[in-house]
């Protein structure tokens, strides 16, 4: 299958290894990955910060870039969520019904990585090997916007060599929330502190999730504390093999 990668601006600029792992994984499973070069950002930060007009420019651009793709994957529940749940609504609010129709069509073909693997490609065992103790944090937008359910866990349970540890109060937000982390830094940090306490308490070496943004938040906190747990994106674990460990 020919899969268009929407790598997301955060992964492009700060976490390229997450994008690389996504490409490695999909190519290993025998699929063709394309990277529409014009892509930039879904505009979620603008919408959620109260700047829908500025976001609309990015929506239009995103639709232009991805309109011809058959299936579009993002290694991010949050960005896929924005494409699926915000883009067309923004266009409609602005009175641009033609753009809304096109945005709906792009949204219908956009999936997050675990949805792509389980629903579109029909695999749960991706042949990964990752000999570590891992705990999984289901990020809010994966869970409650995209409703990915246990798809990421089904994928992780098939990873060879890995010990999967259950995270207490897993479904509670880590406190990132985009600009919330800066505008309401004290509250955000209080939420992060509880999330880190639960993560470190599992004894995991690695905390994983399907969103680089939440991992940046959790990982930034863990590193500041000098905690023994590091953060690794779901795509990196699934891309890891005995021959090419990540």
């Amino acid at each position: 299958m020919r899969i268009a990668l929407f790598v997301t601006c955060l992964v492009d600029a700060l976490y390229p290894r997450v994008g690389q792992a996504t490409v490695t994984l999909l190519e290993r499973l025998g699929h063709e990955v394309v990277f529409p070069a014009g892509q930039t950002c879904c505009g979620q930060m603008h919408v959620n910060s109260g700047y829908p007009r500025e976001a609309l420019t990015l929506v239009r651009h995103h639709v232009d870039v991805f309109e011809d793709a058959e299936v579009i994957v993002a290694p991010s529940g949050s960005c896929a969520g924005s494409v699926r749940h915000q883009h067309a609504a923004l266009a409609r609010d602005a009175g641009d019904d033609a753009l809304a129709v096109r945005a709906d069509a792009v949204a219908a073909r956009t999936v997050e990585l675990s949805e792509l693997l389980v629903d579109v490609l029909g695999v749960e065992d991706v042949g990964a090997y990752y000999p570590h103790r891992v705990t999984y944090h289901p990020t809010c937008h994966s869970l409650r916007v995209l409703r990915v359910g246990d798809r990421p866990l089904r994928l992780l349970r098939r990873v060879a060599g890995m010990t999967l540890l259950e995270l207490p109060e897993a479904a509670t937000c880590c406190g990132f929330g985009g600009t919330f982390a800066v505008k309401n830094a004290a509250t955000s940090t209080a939420m992060l502190a509880d999330k880190m306490r639960h993560i470190v308490g599992t004894g995991a070496e690695v905390a994983t999730a399907g969103d680089a943004s939440c991992l940046m938040h959790i990982g930034g906190g863990l590193s500041r504390l000098g905690a023994p747990t590091r953060t690794v994106h779901l795509a990196e674990i699934l891309a890891s093999t005995a021959a090419a460990p990540s």
Binding site: V7, C9, V11, D12, A13, L14, Y15, P16, R17, G19, Q20, V34, F35, A37, G38, Q39, T40, C41, M45, H46, V47, N48, S49, G50, Y51, P52, E54, A55, T57, L58, R60, H61, C140, L143, R144, V145, T172, C173, G175, F176, G177, G178, F180, A181, V182, K183, N184, A185, A186, T187, S188, T189, A190, M191, L192, G219, G220, G221, S223, R224
Partner: protein, 526 residues
């Protein structure tokens, strides 16, 4: 007083137009004004981030809240899991509310007609000041200088107790938690459990301090505390000639009012005194008895996590020889018709005040209700309070102090737990995002000059709408690599990102962006 002033939703709503809202039926009204500042308890007097910082610094408060919300969350989850048609009930609740709001004018007029036909009197209050004046006048005309009160959000919203006190009338709260708040000269911090920020030990100490004839051996144990309050209240109940209540809902077709409660003190108030005055927000009306079935299932399971609440009181007008001899219903606007005028934002008026969204909210759990300023805290408060008051900032100029309700829509990580818990499926995260845009616009209008944030958002949108500009910006940001060269992480960034690095490291930009890696490794591919 005429009902024609009331912002009857069918008319004067430019955004939607009458056709979409149902045909106009009454008068020539317009949308009402926002809730006025300087009266009642809807206005945040400090920005949320500052108020939250203080709350977060109180470890006892954090423990009390964490414990209490945890217990209610678990009870609710169990009560909801019992019903296999819970999702259908939520959909039904949402649908009934939506259709009721679309012709609220019709239902309100019907309610008025039915209440009046059954011996009650209906009063229409444009805002908190009018409602307070109506109630004060009614109490005065009975000659009473004391009223007993059923727990009610509407009367808290308008600051009725303070207004009565100013007129020399004592209001006695009879709900246990409200009594705790009143005795402690405290403020409610939760819709359903207003004293959730207090633990048993603190309540025992308060009773020992404020109840004259309490047993000095009183233990910090729920039953003993409840019995002490019961003894304290009993004399007042037997003496009171006037009661003031709110209403959980009203049924238009028969003019029936309902209060749903746990303790039975509400029922004492509703049945013993000669005069009953009920203050109700106009959005509480339901068309018919058949709608009641849905809400009497949704409300108790969502709020206290019970299958059914212990006391459901329903009354219709006055009945000779039984209950109050005079019944007054005060219908309150106070910003509601203004909220109704926004076809999307009006969903917040569907709220049945169950407080499930507070109990599941990670922000509320950590900051508590006082940080929100308004008596409507938590996710729904962050939507409803600014909707009712408007988003203007700073001093109101009327001596009522400053209002910072524009900071409330930002007091959320948009995690979505509130939507999943809400029995009437209010999409709170989307409403918050909408209000953020309105708050940004209001700030822009007030300042005339763009804020630094607005400038950076516009710049980011400009850069990100062009891949070439985005790639150029990425190379510039890689200069930051130099800063984190040794550790691979950044521990101190300049403002405003210093708010991030105060508690969290930031990643050091990588040597190569994804798009550079792609063109190096896939030179022949798009």
């Amino acid at each position: 007083m005429s009902r024609a002033f009331l912002g009857i939703p069918a008319i004067g709503v430019p955004a939607a137009g009458p056709a979409a809202l149902g045909a106009p039926t009454v008068g020539v009204p317009t949308v009402g004004a926002a809730a006025p500042p300087g009266v009642g308890h809807l206005h945040a007097s400090r920005p949320f981030p500052a108020a939250a910082r203080d709350a977060l610094a109180d470890p006892q408060l954090r423990r009390n809240l964490g414990h209490a919300t945890g217990v209610i969350r678990a009870k609710r989850a169990a009560a909801v899991a019992e019903l296999d048609d819970w999702e259908q009930l939520r959909l039904a609740g949402e649908a009934i509310k939506r259709s009721t709001m679309a012709s609220l004018d019709t239902h309100l007029v019907r309610l008025e007609a039915e209440v009046t036909a059954r011996g009650g009197t209906v009063h229409w209050a444009r805002d908190a000041r009018e409602a307070n004046a109506i109630v004060t006048g009614l109490v005065r005309s009975t000659g009473a200088d004391e009223v007993v009160k059923v727990k009610s959000m509407a009367t808290q919203e308008i600051g009725l107790n303070e207004a009565l006190a100013a007129a020399g009338i004592t209001a006695v709260e009879t709900d246990l938690a409200e009594l705790i708040i009143q005795l402690g000269e405290d403020r409610p911090s939760h819709i359903l459990v207003p004293a959730i920020h207090r633990n048993r030990g603190e309540i025992r100490d308060l009773f020992l301090r404020t109840m004259p004839d309490v047993d000095p051996q009183l233990a910090a144990e729920p039953r003993q505390l409840a019995m002490a309050a019961r003894a304290h209240l009993r004399r007042t109940f037997l003496r009171a000639r006037v009661a003031v209540s709110g209403a959980n809902l009203a049924i238009a077709e028969t003019g029936t009012l309902a209060v749903v409660e746990s303790e039975g003190n509400g029922r004492m108030c509703l049945t013993l005194p000669d005069t009953l005055i009920t203050v109700m927000g106009i959005e509480k009306v339901l068309p018919s008895w058949s709608d009641l079935e849905v809400f009497l299932q949704l409300l108790p399971r969502s709020s206290t996590g019970e299958r059914m609440n212990p006391y459901t009181s329903l009354w219709t007008g006055v009945t000779p020889g039984d209950g109050p001899r005079a019944f007054h219903l005060v219908l309150l606007d106070n910003g509601r018709t203004a909220a109704l005028a926004d076809r999307v934002g009006r969903d917040a008026l569907h709220c049945i005040r169950c407080s499930a969204c507070l109990n599941v909210c990670p922000v509320y759990e950590r900051t508590g209700g006082h940080a929100y300023g308004s008596i409507y805290p938590g996710p729904i408060g962050a939507v409803l309070s600014p909707q009712l008051t408007g988003l203007h900032r700073g001093s109101d100029g009327g001596g009522g102090g400053a209002t910072f309700n524009a900071s409330l829509p930002f007091a959320s990580s948009l995690c979505g737990a509130c939507f999943d818990a809400c029995p009437v499926r209010i999409d709170i995260p989307s409403l918050l995002v909408r209000l953020r845009a309105a708050a940004v616009d209001a700030a822009r209008d007030a300042q005339r000059l763009p804020t630094p944030e607005a400038l950076s958002m516009a710049a980011a949108a400009h850069v990100m709408s062009s891949p070439a500009r985005f790639a150029a910006a990425e190379s510039a940001s890689r200069l930051a690599r130099l800063a984190g060269r040794r550790t691979g992480r950044l521990s101190a960034l300049p403002w405003p990102l210093s708010a991030w690095t105060a508690t969290r490291d930031a990643p050091r930009p990588p040597a190569e962006t994804f798009r550079q890696w792609w063109s190096r490794t896939h030179p022949d591919r798009p």
